[in-house]
């Protein structure tokens, strides 16, 4: 009886699939066939250097949200932290391109530990800089108050390497993350150091309230997780 049931299921399944294969192809084809094409400039891998410049060492299969509103799935990408650019591996010709930043609004991929991560593009203006700039940031908390992490890699002084009695200057890079808290009115507050004091200084007028909140939740903002908890706490409170 169970075998009969199994065969029946199998047959119905196959017949339904066979019936609609042509039609379903037609609909999905039209969606994917005419997607906006990725555009970008040829990427020259950096010569020998010291320090890590990529967020992910291996090519990650991604979902890209384009500025046209379309979602493109399955493209191989790496996030280059030093340039703050998405590097795309075009698998049809195995060439690497820096994707035009204005084309990418957000992307989803997996990090080196296979954890899903979500990056989006934000536009911030530093008080020290007159110009607004577009940054790719990792989304840590979303809500009324949002928390973003910019995986910034900065230039360090060149290091000297001795090879075959010769001296060579090698570029060195250092990791210096920056955090952005997005306020309900759309403004961004920049946090460059993970400390309780620096965090409280972001909200000078509500220091006392925030301090009590952190004490109640046993938070010290010394780690990213702790900072994220603090922002979640703010979202849950009537801050």
């Amino acid at each position: 009886m169970k075998h009969l049931l199994f065969i029946a299921f199998l047959l119905i399944g196959f017949s339904l699939n066979a019936q609609n294969s042509l039609n379903s192809t037609s609909f999905s084809e039209a969606d994917t066939l005419f997607m906006t094409k990725l555009t970008g400039e040829f990427y020259f891998p950096k010569p020998k250097h010291i320090g890590e410049i990529f967020y992910n060492n291996v090519w990650a299969t991604s979902t890209l949200l384009l500025s046209t509103g379309e979602k493109l799935q399955g493209e191989k990408i790496k996030y280059e932290e030093h340039l703050d650019q998405v590097i795309w591996l075009n698998t049809s010709n195995f060439t690497q391109f820096i994707l035009d930043k204005s084309l990418i609004d957000a992307f989803w991929m997996k990090d080196n530990f296979k954890n899903p991560v979500y990056f989006k593009k934000i536009i911030v203006s530093d008080s020290s800089e007159s110009q607004r700039k577009e940054l790719f940031v990792e989304v840590l908390v979303e809500g009324r108050y949002a928390l973003f992490m910019h995986h910034q890699v900065i230039n360090l002084p060149d290091e000297i390497e001795y090879v075959d009695h010769g001296q060579y200057a090698i570029n060195a890079y250092g990791y210096k993350p920056v955090y952005y808290v997005k306020l309900p009115d759309g403004r961004y507050l920049k946090l460059q150091k993970l400390s309780r004091k620096a965090f409280l200084n972001l909200f000078p007028e509500r220091k006392k309230y925030l301090s009590d909140l952190m004490r109640a939740k046993h938070l010290n903002v010394h780690t990213v997780t702790n900072l994220a908890e603090a922002i979640k706490g703010i979202n849950e409170s009537d801050f």
């Binding site: 169970k2 049931l5 199994f6 299921f9 199998l10 119905i12 399944g13 196959f14 017949s15 339904l16 699939n17 019936q19 609609n20 294969s21 042509l22 039609n23 379903s24 037609s26 609909f27 084809e29 039209a30 969606d31 066939l33 005419f34 906006t36 094409k37 990725l38 555009t39 970008g40 400039e41 040829f42 020259f44 500025s67 046209t68 509103g69 795309w88 075009n90 049809s92 010709n93 060439t95 391109f97 035009d100 930043k101 204005s102 084309l103």
Partner: protein, 572 residues
């Protein structure tokens, strides 16, 4: 063993679930029905229409296609009018104007979607109309006449749909109130109130049209995709010598703009290629070209006309009786009066696009443009290149011009051949830009690095924008093609005016169409009142109502009123 059995069951359930998921589109087939405000017109008049796109099985509004095609054709002739419409939630409403030059004859309005071309053309919606030329006095209709048949239209006595008017007989310029009640379910209907034509008609109601719809077999040789995001333009790349389709060739499409834009498609086994044209391309000049044609080959592009129908229309000769010359002369006179007094017969419909028009930009990175007008005047593009574009070189080799660009590689630079764009269009021949001088060029953008556009790689890009759209004056090369894209038809919305108002009391008002409203939403058992005014035209008017109930039931009903304009009678 238990594990084995469980695996069996899991696989079966998974397969079933999978098939169920795909089954959203299983056997999906659509049908269309076109409803017009009248069945008889005078050339130059407006035809108001409502197009229903329905799932052929459930008869509910279909969401497969967002583009519909309507054409007007005469017997044994090609389409005389081609209209592309946007379908929103299975419905498209609008209007089109009949050309003044149409001869008096019987015509056919055909409506279909591109996806329906995978099936038999008989499934398209066909509506026959009589059009009288405004200046025709002969009315020579004898060749093609309909079989004047008794229509089995519901006369408003149905218990499901009731049409009630506040009076039976009205005088000229009097307010009419029509009450509608649909008892079965909610419904969306269109209503028209028009003078009963004294002409034979082969009018088919929505109820008759959708009756006995059977699933037709799909023509496997055709593969028309559902146009769910915009018009899909199809074409073929063929060998000009033997007409054979060329496989794996790349076709480029761009159109005049101030920015370089591009789309590309790769041809299939029979040379077939497709482009999806968003509203960005509406009414624009399209430039197609085949990339990298081998020098010893002659390839060309052939585009498919989305309106092309295989079957010509051959109406059957049935009867010569029933044509009223008096009615046609009256219609002509009214059309003449309305034209003379320029009577308002509609407002423009707000354009509703089915997709956000996105410019298919070739590059989306910031580039510093060069404006030749900021430099000393230079006589030709090679001179401009030498003087103000340091990374560009124009050489002449064997009598042919060649462009080169200095491209950066990892540690050195090479000279490579860039792609050229003039006024946003991919240029198939460099000679077209050679004579351009500083006066004729507005700006130049040069991207010297190797760039990707999808799977295409370009060794640099030079984009020139001319001061007066020079691209339109160029002639396409042998492997190129140029055509103007049609525009989405929106038409006008019928407006109801208070004809008794003192502002228009002196204007003669002779209307054969008193009212047209394509979007009347009826709620179950709730009365819907519609108001309009009679004109100076003394006649019997038909109130015709057609639509689809929420459960997919087609609805059709009609009633009539009499208008007696006493002022006219006295004058007579």
């Amino acid at each position: 063993m238990n594990i084995f059995k469980r695996t069996h069951l899991t696989v079966a359930v998974l397969l079933f679930a999978l098939s169920g998921y795909n089954g959203v589109h299983a056997n999906e087939q659509e049908t269309v029905y076109i409803q017009t405000d009248r069945t008889a017109y005078v050339s130059g008049e407006t035809v108001y229409y409502k197009l229903y796109v329905l799932d052929s099985e459930s008869k509910k509004r279909s969401e497969i296609n967002k583009v519909g095609y309507i054409e007007l054709r005469a017997p044994k002739s090609n389409p005389l009018l081609k209209i592309r419409v946007n379908i929103i939630a299975g419905i498209a409403c609008g209007s089109f104007i009949l050309p003044d030059t149409l001869q008096s004859s019987v015509y056919q309005i055909v409506a279909f979607t591109s996806f329906m071309k995978n099936f038999d053309e008989n499934l398209f919606s066909h509506q026959e109309v009589v059009i009288t030329n405004r200046n025709d006095k002969e009315f020579n209709f004898e060749t093609y006449l309909f079989d004047s048949k008794e229509s089995n239209l519901n006369l408003g006595t149905d218990t499901i749909l009731r049409i009630k008017t506040d009076k039976r007989i009205y005088s000229g310029r009097e307010k009419v109130v029509v009450s509608l009640v649909h008892t079965a379910s909610n419904a969306n209907v269109a209503i028209s109130v028009y003078e009963e034509p004294q002409l034979p008609t082969s009018e088919i109601t929505i109820v008759e049209s959708l009756k006995d719809l059977t699933n037709a077999p799909r023509n496997q040789s055709k593969n028309y995709l559902a146009e769910n995001s915009g018009k899909i333009l199809r074409g073929r790349i063929i060998d000009a010598n033997n007409k054979q389709g060329i496989e794996h060739a790349i076709v480029l499409l761009s159109c005049p703009d101030t920015v370089a834009n591009l789309q590309y498609a790769t041809s299939g086994s029979d040379g077939l290629f497709m482009f999806q044209l968003s509203s960005y391309y509406d009414g624009k000049e399209l430039f197609f070209t085949i990339k990298d044609v081998p020098t010893d080959q002659k390839w060309k592009i052939e585009l498919e006309d989305p309106f092309a129908l295989t079957n010509k229309w051959k109406p059957e000769y049935k009867s010569e009786k029933g044509f009223s010359k008096e009615y046609m002369t009256k219609s002509q006179d009214m059309a003449y009066i309305n034209k003379t007094y320029d009577t308002n017969d509609g407002d423009a419909i707000n354009k509703q696009s089915i997709n956000r028009p996105v410019t298919p930009l070739l590059y989306r990175c910031p580039v510093k443009p060069v404006y030749p007008s900021e430099f000393v005047p230079l006589d030709s593009f090679p001179e401009i290149a030498v003087e103000i574009l340091p990374s560009v070189r124009i050489n002449m080799q064997d009598g042919n011009y060649q462009a080169h660009i200095v491209t950066r590689l990892q540690h050195y630079f090479i000279n490579s051949e860039p792609v050229l764009f003039l006024d946003g269009v991919y240029l198939d021949d460099i000679n077209k830009i050679i004579p351009l001088n500083s006066e004729r060029i507005k700006k130049i953008e040069v991207l010297s690095n190797k760039r990707a556009f999808g799977d295409l790689i370009f060794n640099g890009i030079i984009s020139i924008v001319s001061t007066s759209n020079e691209i339109l004056a160029t002639v396409p090369a042998a492997q190129s093609l140029r055509m103007r894209n049609d525009q989405t038809n929106y038409g006008k919305r019928f407006v109801t005016e208070d004809y008794s108002s003192p502002d228009i009391v002196e204007t003669p008002l002779y209307k054969q169409l008193l009212y047209w409203n394509p979007q009347v939403d009826l709620l179950q058992n709730q009365q819907k009142d519609l108001e309009f005014y009679t004109s100076d035209n003394t006649a019997k008017f038909v109130i015709k109502l057609e639509g689809i109930a929420d459960d997919g039931t087609p609805i059709s009903a009609r009633a009539s009123i009499q208008v007696n304009n006493l002022h006219n009678e006295t004058a007579k």
